[in-house]
Symmetry: C2
Subunit: 221 residues, 2 copies
């Protein structure tokens, strides 16, 4: 039977804020799927670098793509492992004390094994996951990569080995002694939204916005 | 005279998408200041990790804070250097071809020297920068840290040595041959907004939301 949870190992176990931690696979997947861009850590000449990139997720795998000359994907292939993070800011919490200011957020850290996909079939699967992560069902509504494009695109598959989510979703919290202070305290909710889709300049005037785009917009407005 | 631009070195010079690059200090600062959370790369047992954290910027310095037991801040103090990234997603660009799907964004990568602040005066300055980066002018409108809180908080100062910004702000772009295809192409603008501030449960009913909060909200709604 496949476990519903990621194994807790020294690498993914949260030491600070352990109450906010979740190792539930569906929780981690949900945060990944609500995000367009992840942050990838990699080493180069022994130093740690971080870079943003868009990605796709399908089952327990994450897909990245880039040009063959891309430094980051080359480094990931060389080290064969990766740590990546996605973070969604949900609210700013302002307290009477400077000390207790904080945020509500959903964050996931993933540790995985990196494999470069070689066959056209595997690469197409990875790219389909990336495009459908970008906008659900988009793959069916665009021209698939041709041979030249496929040849120019490197596709990486990351098998998630372990991961953790951290979720803060609580009201602002001051020390009791501070509650009488005359400062404003409260929450400012933060949301990432989409505005109405704008057809590009070459679209024919009478083309309606298709359902998969309207569905995506409806979820994010 | 202080240069208006970060020096281009092998570490910060963009090789891919060089047309989107900027080394202008004000451009990098602008992207940092429009962001609440940055992603920090650090090494632990020779592996690269990435973690989100809120931060402050003042002049050419970035401030981080955390508990003394925090692994990431300990690692940064040990390595004395850091790479961090902030990214703002501005639009999803959908093209007729899967290959040309992309995003508009503003991203900044910073490379800096890390110093732990020791004196109360220096730590208070760093914390003030973090709180005022969180919400401008907030520091004047909350209780400053007391001795116990200050003692419990580690504050790091990052002197920016070099940095680069990468900005994509163009319409979707398909190959000419694809323009006749019957797929929808266009832009879906993405925005991070704030909803109206909610007072916390202990606030007196007649307390008005102060100007610094309303100003912050007006900028982000």
């Amino acid at each position: 039977m496949i476990s519903m949870k990621f194994e807790k190992t020294p690498i993914n176990t949260l030491k600070r804020g352990a109450k906010k931690a979740s190792y539930d696979k569906e929780v981690v997947y949900g945060i990944l799927d609500a995000t367009e861009i992840c942050h990838i850590a990699f080493t180069h000449n022994g130093k740690a670098f971080v870079q943003p990139i868009n990605f796709g997720r399908f089952e327990n795998k994450i897909y990245l793509h880039g040009a063959y000359s891309n430094r980051m994907t080359s480094k990931l292939i060389a080290t064969k492992e990766v740590c990546l993070n996605v973070t969604i800011l949900d609210a700013m919490k302002l307290t009477r004390s400077a000390f207790h200011h904080s945020v509500n957020y959903r964050s996931a850290v993933v540790f995985g094994r990196v494999k470069e996909l070689i066959s056209d079939e595997d690469k197409l699967h990875g790219l389909k996951c990336i495009i459908n992560h970008f906008v659900p069902n988009r793959w069916e509504h665009c021209r698939p990569p041709n041979q030249g494009e496929l040849k120019a695109t490197r596709v990486l598959e990351i098998s998630i080995e372990t991961a953790s989510a951290k979720i803060a979703d609580t009201p602002p919290s001051d020390n009791k002694a501070d509650l009488e202070l005359d400062y404003w305290a409260g929450t400012i909710p933060v949301k990432t939204i989409c505005e109405y889709p704008k057809p590009d300049m070459h679209m024919k005037k009478d083309v309606k916005i298709p359902k998969h785009i309207l569905d995506f917009y409806a979820n994010k407005k």
